[in-house]
Assembly symmetry: C2
Homo-oligomer: 464 residues x 2
């Protein structure tokens, strides 16, 4: 174990105040300090990285918001033709740096660069796919920073202790095939391969993910499994997709783990009625009931120090002069603590049932179905400390801040099977999943430098 | 003017407590009391009426809810093949009773029965079209009650003073061609003929209302105009579509007029953000903002003795883990008084702007667009008093209750151009626009008897 040097601060609910030590059985490997890489001794080439990033965004560029060539968002959906072009380009680039590419049955791409010793690789990875109205940084920056690290290591002829691996995970976004973090969830054993293969294109149910893997030549023969294809560690650079770094003026988020979250499908069954002829006291207005629940879920989440959000809502029948008899909506409820999330969720459910059942109107019937539960993820102290060392060596301790990830990432999946951590950089206005998503070239460079150094520090200290 | 005998009571906000006398210029004709028809001297044949109603509901029967032959709802959309069949049947029945049919350019059907004197006809009418998930009574009962009145008058060889007219108005529901009360609004001059003709089938924009009028043979050559084709008065029987009669135990609603209402399109512009990585204080969550406005509109409407309802809501982008950046929803705001509706609407708008602009989050931008305004309608005292006399003569004064219509009806349109009023009967549970819509045969018979007698009383007292 490396000694941890905590420069903790607390900017928001998303920031974890203490790194919990891991118990045994998490796959931690002891790090030694006998070998020699010093963070900051290699410097990435920021201009080269940004050129590659923007050049390859021609595959999927969409939603221009300005006249400049990089002033567009992206729509590079998993396994579409643009994704295939970006994937082939990436493999070719990595191979030009001496890497060997393996593609697994989920299309996850692993580009290995040999080290001095045999052993599992220290990986740096992210994803090339985007949301349909996405930006140029979410996922894409993580891949390009990893590639830039490989280029820098290659041109400096640095021989790492163990192999490195650049990973492009399939369908992190879950936008075209509706399950996020798909490739890494098959790899870590959370999701069965056949279920992932059977995912259907949201716009054309006749097309499955397996069809598209095959069409693009990315249906590999390596098992999509941490057992057949293990990694020693996984690091990922990602834009924060939130406002903490910007609001605190810090440059790097040293990510401690991911929030716990639960997704709930709520169905409110009332009764259609005429808006003109039905006095309030005889209504069972599902839309009014749903609105009250959404307002209450917000209030209760604030009280509990968590989050609650409604992203989807559909009603029927949908006529100006008919009170809806049925409303479906989603609740996305989050908290850094798995246990406190459970308490928050119970409180919202209880209040929702009270809102539906009573009040001045006749009431509605409520169906409450949890569709997804992701417990809190705690990243590995060895990986976190490698990131911290990279931050401190390059930019000083005061430039980093310990944060918790609000979003899910492939690294949340890998962390179940190998030591993992992440590096966050500033997102302008916290905007993401939006064409206006933006991180400055300076911030992208900081992130890439920290990513490379974290991986190299980790590699240098590994004892196996 | 007939002497008014008010047996006013107040069961809800929808009930008007005083009938306002009309000023001059509304087209009222003085009623005399020299002629002889006495309400209750003819009796309608309830069984015959219900047989016809259910028999002709074979044209459009849908959404069965039980095993009995009449236990279905209806889907008889304006100018579909079922509507054509029902229309042709109606004309044939009326003609078998000595009527002459005129069809105007909107497909409004006028079936005239001669009286002793030349003159404009006293009309009884409603509509044969239904909602796609409608019932067997909304509109349909009004037509069958009018036909039953004609049958009763015919078999009793009653010669009215002036002509009677049975009217079937086109597209009252506005379900297939999205504008309600279309035919009578062209007739009364509120809606231009070419705009009505150009209305497109909501499911197939290549089909216009004019196309379908032509296809069915209902593109008549009579101008759709109260000037070319005037009526002396218009009476309509309708189900209440609300809970007042049921809750008060009264049998007949003596309708004083229609509520004022306004329709508002509300657009809330916030900013898409990730549900996990965005603390509340930096969000502009359009869905939360919309929910608060809906809850507040309900509260404010209660305070003002009016109604506010949201029947349509759409959001984007529509992903579980993205707070919506945009929400569109409708507000339907009603009050029996035009002036108090204006005050209520202003109060809701002001509060909505406050909710959008302030609060703990960053706020959203609000667009508020009024798309429709229907001032309060006051029915004609001569028609109201004819209905009241019909109720008192047949069932006693205590069986009637003065009510305001919460919904729009063709009679609200005719009342702008000729003395008009309506008769309401009980709707079970206030359910309408729903296959379960139901009124008992006994209540249907009461309504038909009152409708016939109101028209005959009016006819007998007319002086021109």
């Amino acid at each position: 174990m490396l000694a941890l040097s905590h420069s903790q601060s607390r900017a928001s609910l998303l920031i974890k105040t203490l790194v919990q030590p891991r118990g045994p059985g998490h796959g931690a490997r002891a790090l030694g300090s006998t070998r020699s890489y010093t963070a900051g001794s290699l410097k990435i080439n920021a201009a080269r990285m940004m050129d590659s990033l923007h050049e390859t965004c021609k595959w999927g560029a969409a939603h221009p918001y300005g006249s400049g060539p990089t002033e567009t968002g992206m729509s590079r959906l998993t396994l579409d033709d643009n994704d295939f072009k970006a994937r082939r380009w990436l493999a070719k680039e990595a191979e030009s740096l001496g890497c060997t590419t393996k593609v697994d049955k989920m299309g996850n791409m692993f580009m290995f660069r040999p080290g001095k010793h045999q052993g599992h690789a220290t990986a740096v990875g992210s994803h090339l796919d985007t949301q349909p109205t996405g930006g140029r940084y979410d996922g894409i920056l993580g891949i390009h920073a990893a590639l830039e690290a490989f280029r820098t290591i290659h041109e400096n002829k640095l021989q790492t202790e163990y192999p490195l691996c650049l990973v492009n995970w399939t369908n992190e976004e879950g936008a075209r095939f509706p399950k996020s973090i798909t490739g890494s969830s098959v790899w870590n054993g959370d999701l069965a391969l056949d279920k992932a293969w059977a995912l259907q294109d949201v716009k054309d149910a006749s097309i499955t993910m397996r069809d598209e893997l095959e069409r693009g030549g990315f249906l590999g023969d390596v098992e999509a499994s941490y057992e057949s294809n293990p990694l020693a560690a996984h690091f990922e650079l990602h834009i924060e997709q939130g406002p903490i770094l910007e609001s605190t003026g810090k440059k790097v988020g040293i990510v401690q783990g991911g929030q716990a979250y639960r997704w709930i499908d709520v169905n409110v069954h009332g009764r259609d009625c005429h808006t003109g002829s039905t006095p309030f006291e005889t209504r069972s207005d599902a839309m009014l009931c749903a609105s009250r629940i959404i307002v209450e879920s917000n209030r209760i989440a604030k009280e509990h120090g968590g989050l609650a959000s409604t992203g989807i809502l559909r009603l029927s029948p949908g006529s100006v002069n008919t009170c809806p008899g049925h409303v479906f909506f989603t609740l996305d409820i989050r908290h850094p603590s798995t246990e406190r999330l459970a308490a928050l969720t119970s409180a919202i459910e209880a209040r929702s049932r009270a809102v539906a059942g009573t009040g001045s109107e006749r009431g509605c019937r409520l169906e409450w179905l949890e569709t997804f539960h992701s417990p809190a993820v705690e990243f590995h102290p060895d990986c976190i400390s490698s990131v911290r060392e990279a931050v401190e060596a390059n930019y000083g301790a005061e430039s980093g801040i310990d944060v918790f990830s609000g979003a899910g990432h492939d690294t949340c999946a890998t962390s179940k099977r190998c030591p993992s951590s992440m590096v966050f950089i500033t997102s302008r206005d916290g905007v993401s999943h939006n064409p206006l998503e933006y991180s400055s070239p300076e911030d992208c460079a900081i992130g890439a430098q920290v990513l490379m150094d974290a991986a190299l520090v980790y590699d240098a200290r590994r004892t196996a």
